[in-house]
């Protein structure tokens, strides 16, 4: 195989653009982890489920394409709230295993529900900007991926604003630092956690829709890879670190693009996972993790 620096830069560009989806998913994982110090394994699945409902509203009710980007995230937010009540709200505080296991159960429930409803076959998602393709010197940039990236930046800005400029964000950050102290200060921690789940769910719904729009199909096969990539992004970025998740999302996307070029599609993921182990050995806290061995 022969490739010069242009190929490599081109794959990096594609990877970074695609990485914005990973960044969104990683952001959602990290938000939930930051709030409750628990992992919601069903999170990416809820995003994909949201994208499915968005797509259904297009095909069954004949709504315009943009409606999918409203209905999808709203449903995903609702699923997020349901997940909170089903897997986290009533679990003993000190028990880590039970909510984790319950959310894994929810992951497979959502996955199987999608497979059951669609008979497991992929459904095509309408392309948003099918013909847009820009040239930047020698490099080409897909218009829809550029839109995906722009969309993600807007969403990230909104999340940042919510967290650092509003009272709700103050409550969320307080709950994440010291749940008991936050409760003593009159912050309704359960409601705050619920809101975080809804917020993260909406993000996941957007990520699911954007993923479907840029890949062109929705398939239950997307659920597990998206979950795993999102988790890797979260760990590489540092659990609970928001800017870490965003940066790691783009970085993992770029690495994936390069590995795809160099090693082909069958082996691409092996190297992404090895990258994770590299981080676990040399920087177990990720890029921006705070304390060692935080749980």
């Amino acid at each position: 195989m022969n490739f010069d620096h242009i190929d490599i830069i081109q794959s990096t560009i594609d990877g970074v653009l695609f990485g914005s989806i990973y960044a969104l998913i990683g952001l959602g994982f990290t938000l939930i982890f930051g709030a409750m110090h628990k992992l919601n394994m069903a999170y990416a699945a809820s995003g994909i489920a949201g994208a499915y409902t968005g797509l259904m509203s297009l095909t069954i009710l004949g709504m315009p394409v943009l409606m999918a980007f409203i209905i999808g995230p709203v449903t995903a937010g609702l699923i997020g709230l349901l997940l909170y009540f089903a897997c986290f709200r009533f679990m003993p505080r000190g028990n880590q295993l039970a909510p984790l296991m319950a959310s894994i159960g929810a992951l497979f429930f959502i996955d199987e529900l999608i497979i059951h409803e669609t008979s497991g076959s992929p459904m095509s998602f309408p392309a948003v900007l099918p013909d847009a393709y820009f040239f930047l010197g020698e490099f080409g940039i897909r218009g829809d991926l550029l839109m995906v990236m722009g969309f993600s930046f807007i969403l990230m800005a909104i999340v940042m604003l919510l967290l650092y400029r509003t009272k709700l964000g103050l409550g969320t950050r307080a709950t994440s630092q010291q749940p008991v102290a936050a409760l003593l200060c009159g912050i309704p921690t359960h409601r705050t956690n619920g809101t975080t789940f809804v917020l993260a769910g909406v993000l996941g719904g957007f990520a699911g829709c954007l993923l479907a729009a840029s890949v062109g199909v929705l398939s239950p096969l997307l659920v597990l890879p998206l979950t795993i990539k999102g988790l890797i992004v979260t760990v590489i970025g540092g659990l609970g670190s928001i800017r870490g998740a965003i940066i790691a999302g783009f970085a993992v996307g770029a690495a994936e693009g390069v590995f795809l070029l160099v090693r082909g599609v069958n082996e691409r993921d092996i190297y992404v996972f090895l990258l994770l182990f590299l981080f676990l050995v040399f920087r177990p806290n990720g890029l921006f993790g705070t304390t060692i061995n935080r749980d």
């Binding site: 028990n95 760990v235 996972f273 061995n293 749980d295």
Partner: protein, 305 residues
């Protein structure tokens, strides 16, 4: 009869998977790498009997040893981080193993037949049992013999110091560390032990089904592996066996008439059990109650005599 033996076979193999996860869960670590070790055991022992035409027992032993060795290797980086990050690390490990075997093609001519793992086509020719005149009842006997040995071993472990150390780490890491327990060593030891158990399970699985491919070793199987001890409860090895019989025997086989819906029920069941019994079905209170009941019964008999 064949059908019943088939169920026993599945329950046996899944019990081994569950027990391998149980050992690590005692230290409070949730690992989804069990399916990776299972796959290593399956492929290594399969390659040894098929390509190198070894006898089944050394092949199983080497498969288990290799799986244990990889568990040891993965244990060090993975167990430096704890709890939730370990989940991510172990998922990645299982996927690396799966993708490795997905890409592995090693076709060799043995006695005029081309055999060996054929990447996406899977590894088809693991016919040691059939070629050497083993009946299904012998295979099931072998699987359950291994299950019994492992269960007795783990039961015994709970009655010696090593088991107490494992549970100490699982209950409170900080307190365990303060009492001079080397956390990393204990966890890596548990991981290695789990890897060996999963490796034997994998070898037995590969030889009893005669065919494995990368679809077998997806994360779903790892989820099953950890769900058995968690649903059954970590207080006793019997919990794992109980959960395997319940899930494989009742839900997967007993509800066969419900078709696809069984997978939905599996997910819902995990959520339900975790909400109602966060410590598992066979938790500490239930065990105490059973012991009391048993004590009263035997006392009653004595009084009668």
């Amino acid at each position: 009869m064949t059908y019943l033996l088939g169920i026993f076979q599945t329950i046996g193999v899944h019990t081994l998977l569950g027990l391998s996860a149980y050992l690590l869960l005692l230290t409070g670590q949730l690992s989804l790498a069990q399916v990776g070790f299972f796959a290593i055991g399956a492929y290594v022992s399969g390659i040894l009997t098929v390509i190198f035409t070894w006898h089944i027992f050394p092949a199983l032993a080497i498969g288990a040893f290799t799986a244990g060795f990889f568990a040891f290797l993965v244990g060090f980086p993975a167990l430096r981080v704890k709890g939730l990050m370990l989940v991510v690390a172990t998922i990645s490990f299982s996927e690396i193993v799966r993708l490795f075997f997905f890409n592995l093609s090693w076709r060799v001519n043995v006695n005029g037949l081309e055999v060996g793992p054929d990447s996406t086509q899977g590894f088809r020719e693991i016919r040691y049992f059939a070629a050497n005149g083993w009946e299904q009842i012998h295979i099931v006997g072998l699987i359950w013999f291994v299950v019994m040995v492992v269960m007795v071993g783990l039961w015994w472990l709970d009655r010696v110091r090593a088991g107490a150390v494992l549970r100490a780490v699982g209950t409170d890491e900080l307190a365990a560390q303060s009492s001079g327990i080397n956390l990393t060593m204990v966890k890596v030891a548990a991981m290695t032990g789990g890897g060996v158990i999963a490796g034997i399970g994998g070898g037995l699985f590969a030889h009893s089904t005669t065919y494995v491919d990368h679809h077998t070793f997806v994360i779903l199987l790892a989820t099953f592996a950890v769900s058995y001890p968690i649903i059954g409860g970590l207080r006793s090895v019997m919990g794992t066996l109980l959960a395997v019989i319940f899930i494989q025997g009742v839900i997967v086989e007993g509800l066969r008439f419900m078709g696809d819906y069984r997978n939905l029920i599996f997910g819902l069941l995990i959520i339900l059990v975790m909400n109602l019994r966060p410590q598992g079905l066979l938790d500490g209170h239930l065990l105490e109650d059973m012991k009391k009941l048993l004590g009263r019964l035997t006392k009653g008999e004595k009084a009668d005599a």
